[in-house]
Amino acid sequence: MEHALTLEHVTKRFGAHVAVDDLSLAIPKGSIYGFLGPNGAGKTTTIRMVTNIIQPDQGTITVLGQKSSELTKDRLGYLPEEKGLYKKMKCAEIMAYFGRLKGLDPATAKRRATELLERYGLGEWADKRTEALSKGMGQKVQLLATIIHEPELMILDEPFSGLDPVNVEILRDLILDQRRAGRTVIFSTHGMEQAEQLCDFIFLIDKGRKVIDGPLSEVRKSAERAVMLDYDGDGSLLSRLPGVTRVNDAGKTAELFLAPGADPQELLHALIGQVKVRRFDMREPSLHEVFVRAVGGRQAAKDLSHG
């Protein structure tokens, strides 16, 4: 399979701190790849190395078949984690500027800026200064600026944070559009829901080391089986049921994890009579569960719910 991006034994240190430790990755062309990990795990450092903003201490990075360098920058689109625009520039103007920095000629940059703004409902803002935009709109403009040069590889750092549900929808469509056009999208996120919906592959990093890397379906299969339960009644007895190793209880719904070899039928039996069962659903564990288990500890879970 052809790869849009490969990292081989990449290490990056800041003083004594090892931000990324011997990381190897291979991202197939035309895929959507999710970068997961708690805060400070090394996601942004990895992304900055891929975009050639900083250089790795060891290892090699190959972008679109070329060794990462200034030359590969034009073929990448990068949306950083913290979003910002020049306040005094007009929306179309700043998009065209970013496009030209990626090597577009002035006419094309201008045309595409207007087109993109029109297509994503910001046409009337083209000649307004970016300081007049709301936060969400500003983010949208920046996202559009990221794709103005039609990059073969897009890297989005936390693209969903701060967006309202309508804009989340638009962004999701936009990412899927990119894949349909044969381009590769990498995005980092704390939102498990988006990752589950969109990603072909999941990469989980913690403390600079790779924890999980593979197709979403396999990642989920590798974890314990679980039962999604909607119920009314006393949740405290759930953990004492036969074959149950752990419970994620949310009050009205709960995720029950089964020991290897445990029989779900038996569990259902035990449940009936104890609580009122509204739904009993065998499924693979959620990405959330995978994440928490992999990273471990309550702190990571906390990060997630706040991030």
Binding site: P80, E81, G84, Y86, K87, T146
Partner: protein
Amino acid sequence: MVSKKTWLVALREYAENLRTKTFWIGILLFPVILAVAVIVPSLLAKAKDVRRYAVIDQSQWLLPAVEERAKYDDVLQLLKFLQKQTVKGPSAVEAMPPPMRAMAQGLEGKTAAQLENKARLMTMMGAAFGGGKPKDSEAGGETPDLTAQTVEFLGWLSTLSPKEARSLKAGIKRERYERVELPPGTADPEGWAREQLDQGKSGLFAYFVLGPTPLDSNDGFKYVSNNRTDQDLKEWIGRLSSDVIEARRFAREKIDPDVARRIQEPVHFDEKQIDSTGQEQKVSTKDVIRQWAPLVFVYLLWVSIVTIVQLLLTNTVEEKSNRIIEVLLSSISPLELMTGKIFGIAATGLTTIVSWIGFFLVGLKLAPTLMDLPGDVDLSILVSDPSFLLSFVVYFLLGFLLYASMIVGIGSACNSIKEAQNLMSPIMVLLMLPLMALMPVGQDPNGTLARVLSFIPPFTPFVMMNRAAGPPETWEYVATTLLLLLSVALAFWAAAKIFRVGILMTGKPPKLGEIFRWVFASDRQ
């Protein structure tokens, strides 16, 4: 190094600066200050209340003599003014009151000495006829019209109120001073004057007492005023009195005034200098410009560096605080970005300077006509000295680049304007020194201090410009320029290193020592 993307960054930076208020305030501030500095003092002088004064003349003769002397000054001033107006054209003359118009004929082409003679003659004539209209026969017959005109003119002049005088815009003393006659038959004139002094605007500003024996002693001379700050009136009357008394003393001792003048003639040195061919040369305007132009350039360079600091820091801090910098760095290299920023800021600074020079030249052209100031300064001299001008342009650009690199380097490490100002303070101190050395270096352009400072790169542009009147030897020009070029390259390289690291730093502001370490850190950051 200078890629297409670099120019893009430079262009955007420049356009962004042009949008800021700071930039336009900076551009407009200079002409405004210039105009204020030139116009306001003269406006203030004009706006000054008319000074009413009285003179108690115990000598019985000094006051009329002083009045006559004053009249001579005003007549001469009016004649010069008229001469200037006739040059301007007939319409300027037409606009004047009839007695003035009558005097305007035949003034064209007269030298200053001729005008002085005419004024003296006219004043004497006025004194002889006592202000009355002479009969034709009394005037000697030959130029009756002229005599009649003169007398009429002088009569008109002596009744001119300060307000009318001011409307002439000729700058005569009558605009500002008005003598109040003592009430006739007062037994105690000083008592009267003292009373008048307290009556504010309608009363007297000051009064003089002229002693009974002016030729022998200063006894009894007195100037009384409650305004101790404005000494103009006292000085004016004092000067006129001294002139009159001096002339009378010569006459009493039977000394020919010409002889007296010769005796009093001070020593005058004819200023010369030796040019490169060993010839004696008269000191010309060119040399005067050579002496003053450097100061102007030193100030211009200084001010332009100080003004870009603010703009540059605002932009860099904006880019850093909202992380645009990451988008930029994912598109271009740090070196390209920094070069672009330096070029952009340099273009901004040069735009300011060029427009200031433009304002200055326009002002220089307009000021004489607007303000009735004498003289056109011939700046073509500056252009006729190309190597002189070229050295300025080179030092200016190199000096500007050197400081711009340092500022960009340090600015990239800062997250807020406040932090930046703290880190900038060493550069500001560095910038103060050439200003402090301005006088000593200017006076001794080839002295040890000047030579030593020339070879310290941050001071080179200032000091070498400052020394231009010297001028320094050719090898010094070559050596300092090479050294400066080297330092610009070095500063650029160091700034690029700092920029690489600093631009992505957030959080705690770095210490100067830390920044210094980045310069020598490896490229792999």
